[in-house]
């Protein structure tokens, strides 16, 4: 249904009714901006890159054939643009090994996080993930993209995407565990 909606608006834009593109911008601006912000780590740069990604998508809309989901295509443009910008500016990527993965993370109990704090805690934990893993988690959980779609966005092989997603998930659990311990310590 979602894809059908996108196709409808895309066709309208292709027919010359540019106004319909604002629907696409409104719908995807948060996720595009979030990916850009995570990679570029600066709100101004992220906004500029998000804007550029939408303009790029608009300009290349005639090349979008609808074989893949529009969102996958848009995220690929965003992710590639951000990575190119990072390479251009030579921004240092956080190493994925900086966060220690512990065995006990497998036993994480999310119910242990007070409900009113869950969204904040999860957001905070996500922000501690390196950019690539953040993108994988967001695309997989938040956007419900398949492994195949994610591999298209990140240009990783499907098996590599699976492995990295597994590691990202474990890392996120690890961070959450640490945060929960800290919260508990603060309460006590």
């Amino acid at each position: 249904m979602e894809q059908k909606d996108d196709i409808y608006y895309i066709e309208k834009v292709k027919e010359g009714q540019t106004n319909y593109f604002s629907y696409i911008v409104e719908k995807y601006q948060d996720i595009v901006f979030s990916i850009a912000l995570k990679v570029l780590r600066n709100r101004e740069d992220a906004e500029e890159m998000a804007q550029e990604s939408f303009i790029k998508a608009y300009k290349s809309l005639h090349t979008f054939k609808g074989n893949a989901k529009f969102s996958t295509w848009l995220y690929r443009i965003t992710y590639n643009s951000c990575i190119s910008e990072v390479r251009k500016k030579k921004i240092h990527f956080a190493s994925t090994d900086e966060i220690e993965i512990k065995d006990e993370t497998e036993e994480l109990n999310l119910d242990g996080i007070p409900e009113e704090n869950r969204a904040r805690v999860i957001k905070e934990a996500l922000s501690k993930l390196p950019e690539e893993e953040y993108t994988l988690v967001i695309l997989y959980y938040f956007e419900e993209q398949s492994i195949e779609e994610i591999s298209k966005v990140t240009k990783l092989s499907e098996s590599n995407t699976k492995v990295k997603l597994y590691r990202a998930r474990k890392k996120l659990y690890s961070i959450l565990n640490e945060m929960m311990k800290d919260e508990l310590y603060t309460i006590l």
Binding site: S22, F33, E47, A50, Q51, N109, A119, I122, Y141
Partner: protein, 135 residues
Amino acid sequence: MNELEDIKLKALLQQMKLDSPEPNFSVRVMNKIFEENSVLERIKSEKVLGRGFWIILILFVILLAAIFIIYNSGAQPESQLQTLLPEVNSGVTEGYKSIFNKMGTVPLSIAGILIASSVLLFIDRFISSNTKIFA
């Protein structure tokens, strides 16, 4: 990994509010798109050959017509040249004549048209880039 926890994590993440750009972000994106569209439209609608080109072309045609009339009126260009510039070395004019005869008239005409077109385009571009001077 605990599948149930994974499902819970998924549900939690989907409830999470992502970072948002500035409130007028989509307006700015659309404005930029419209701006780029109008620039593109302007470029598309811009004439390849400007007014200067057509003025020069008309002058060129008038010049050709004048030469044609002079030819048909019986006055020979060679004799005209000799009348106007008596000091021109006759040897040089003879040399030119023989070269033109050897080359033939067709390639010469094509070359003439190409050179003239190139000159006209160059002048047109020059006038277009200096519109303030020629306005």
